[in-house]
Amino acid sequence: MTLLSIRDLDKSFAGARALSGASLEVRAGEVHALMGENGAGKSTLIKVLAGVVKPDAGGIEIDGAPISIASPADALRLGLRFIHQELSVVPHLSVAENIFLGRDYPRRWRFMIDWEGLNRAAAAVLAGLGVSHINPARKMARLTVGDQMLVKIAAAFQDASIGGGVPARLYVMDEPTAALSAEESQRLFAVIRRLRAHGAGIIYVSHRLDEVMELADRLTVLRDGATVATRDIAGLQKLEVIELMIGRRFAEGYPPRLAPVANEMALSVQHLSTGYLQDVSFEVHKGEILGLAGLEGAGQSEVIRAIVGADGGHDGAISLAGRPVKIDEPVSAWAKGLAFLPRERRQEGLVASASIAGNVSLPHLDDLVRFGLVLDRAAETEQAVGLGRQVKLKAKGPRQKVRELSGGNQQKVVFARVIAGKPEVLLLDEPTRGVDVGARYDIHALLRELTAEGKTVVLASSDLPELVYMADRVIVFRDGKVATTVSTEGLDQAALAALCFGTPTAPSA
């Protein structure tokens, strides 16, 4: 039974086509994956459905009846629920208020808000997702981005978990797992399956193929804004999906190591402690990729942030190529040849109002001056063009605003910035988040090239295959401490996962 049918959507932004003939049919009771390369138009299609973007042409039908969605309120009324790629939270309101934003709060004596009731209701919604560690009364701003994502998911699901209200018919999720840990993702999948069993339709966007193959019933592929195919997942090979997305044969995988790790020390961290980290010590060699693993918030990001001085001071000693260094601000980290890619591209990485070139050049402005203070725009543009090509950035040009790029292309801008200054050590926190399979391979290949030139990479990732196949060694963190260090020689994903959870059956290496 067809629930939603989108036909021949067209949308251009200032002359640039985002959608040209995008169609999609979703049945009740199915998980329908929407696939495509970065910039293919997935988020734009979803924004049209949400009443956020006005299409130039095309039609939408629900239950066979043509409808128009002019605003988010319309979409809500029609029983559509959204989890957008770009989290929009109200940071100074509580978790509970974020969940019930725009809905009726429970009342007391008709006109007073029943705060306790509100918090209870929010807790119930969160519990429906299997989430118990988030206090509904807490301010949204104080949550990690992963937790914020869970709250947004809860907000979309709220009337599915508790009775009352119009039950939603269609859930639309744009890369909901990009900021989630493996464990949180699994919980989300359980909820999605439950919704499907109750007859809801689900549109699901993700660049993680394994996830899609596991969860979805059918998929539709967009390429350059047009629908190229809709297929049943059953009997479909990953290879075919990739081919549909990028239009050529391409085996998912990882580029091989190009050169052995050198014996020379690149970065040494001794007895690093902060409010959270306890006595973290490790060494990385030139040409090595050191992976950082662990459950969400176990210390991987904190180590990287502490090394670059993102959170002020810390105890312990850091040396680069054998020389002790003192870094208490990111500016000194960049100056000393460390490049830092933060975890959250929108909050911590990008200046959305600035151009691609302006974002790439930000830490390297001192290398782009003439006469001591005049910015050399031509050189800046040239830098962005060259790097943009290397990371396969899809954009109108180097002066396009980052705000206008698709999520994955924004991520590529942050990556381009990191390799722009020819750093000795790259500290990367989830560098391939939201990046499509092809571009991901290119980024991995670039990392291989850099390490072959003797550069060093510290790679924190919740993507376990990325660690297993790219890293030489992996440090596993647990509660702010180094739990163990393993070589990736012969390590598989399951074993690494077990180490992250700290399950006793974990094999040691």
């Binding site: 200032a14 200046v351 050049s361």
Partner: protein
């Protein structure tokens, strides 16, 4: 079309205002003499608005500029009163302006007080100081050296009847300097990055605190410059004479911001904002419209312009 209106709406509005006065005041409005006159009238506001743009680029405000302008005028006048020369008086006033601005910078960047609150505090302090050191009196007459007050009356002759006022020239130089700093240097680029996303800028190796500190210094310096221009123009100094500058300067920057699709301040756009305010003031005065009515009109126009541009930008 709609997007052109969004970006150029304010500029079109400015042109409409000019055309309106041209028609209403056919004899005097559209003359070189009147425009040079307007340029001189707005020169002080212009200087404050241009340097205010520097802090507003970072998403900050400086509310203390008006009282700093008054204080700077008083400081110079007192120096003259005590027999110091023009150079010394001017230098002292500028130093006070820079120091006051840097104090704002310390409070905002290093102590971490919201700019609104910090500069509201220093607004009161600088204004209080101006009263304190002047004893609340206007300093005028023989205390003000003719070389100082003569500056505002001087100019570069353009023809037999009109000349380019020195004050206009000062404003133009400040405009050029601020444009150069904001649009051409890495310093300016960094300020815009801070305004766009402070945290991302910091993590990308920008010294956010230091730059905010310096930017407030420049704003203080601009305020003191305007204070000196004012004192020279009226050949006197009193502790409240700069007080009108702050609101108008912020309004001018806001009017300019409506012209950028990112809502970022740019100094050339601020210039348009200043001219709108200046032309309105000049035209309405020539039409002998009551000054209270004038205020209501100018305020409404600002609100309308900003509202129109934010409504235009709300939906993609």
């Amino acid at each position: 079309m709609a997007s052109a209106l969004k970006t150029y709406g304010t500029l079109i509005g400015f042109i409409l205002v000019v055309v309106f006065f041209w028609i209403e005041i056919p004899d005097t409005f559209m003359t070189a003499k009147n425009w040079l006159n307007i340029s001189q009238q707005v020169s002080m506001l212009a200087v404050v608005a241009f340097t205010m743009t520097i802090v507003m680029v970072m998403g900050d405000f400086d509310l203390s500029v008006g009282s700093m302008a008054s204080l700077a005028g008083i400081v110079a006048a007192l120096a003259f009163h005590d027999g110091y020369g023009v150079e010394i008086g001017v230098a002292l006033a500028l130093i006070i302006g820079l120091a006051g601005g840097l104090l704002n910078g310390v409070l905002v960047a290093y102590v971490g007080i919201l700019p609104f609150v910090a500069t509201l505090g220093t607004l009161t302090i600088y204004s209080g100081l101006a009263f304190l050191v002047s004893g609340g009196k206007t300093i005028f007459g023989r205390d003000i050296p003719p070389a100082f007050s003569g500056f505002a009356r001087s100019g570069i002759p353009l023809s037999d009847t009109v000349s380019l006022p020195s004050l206009t020239l000062v404003a133009a130089l400040v405009l050029l300097a601020v444009w150069f700093v904001l649009e051409q240097t890495t310093f300016g680029r960094r300020l815009y990055a801070i305004g766009g996303n402070k945290e991302a800028a910091r993590l990308a190796g920008i010294r956010v605190k230091r730059l905010r500190f310096f930017a407030f210094g420049l704003s203080g310096l601009g305020a003191a410059t305007a204070g000196l221009m004012y004192a020279s123009r009226v050949a006197s100094a009193n502790p409240t004479q700069g007080s009108g500058l702050m609101l108008d300067a912020i309004a001018a920057v806001f009017l300019g911001m409506t012209m950028s699709d990112e809502g970022e301040p740019h100094v050339l756009a601020t210039l348009v904002g200043v001219l709108i305010l200046g032309v309105l003031g000049n035209g309405l005065t020539q039409m002998s419209i009551d000054s209270y009515v004038r205020e209501v009109l100018i305020g409404s126009i600002i609100v309308l312009a900003v509202a129109a541009s934010s409504i235009g930008k709300a939906r993609g």
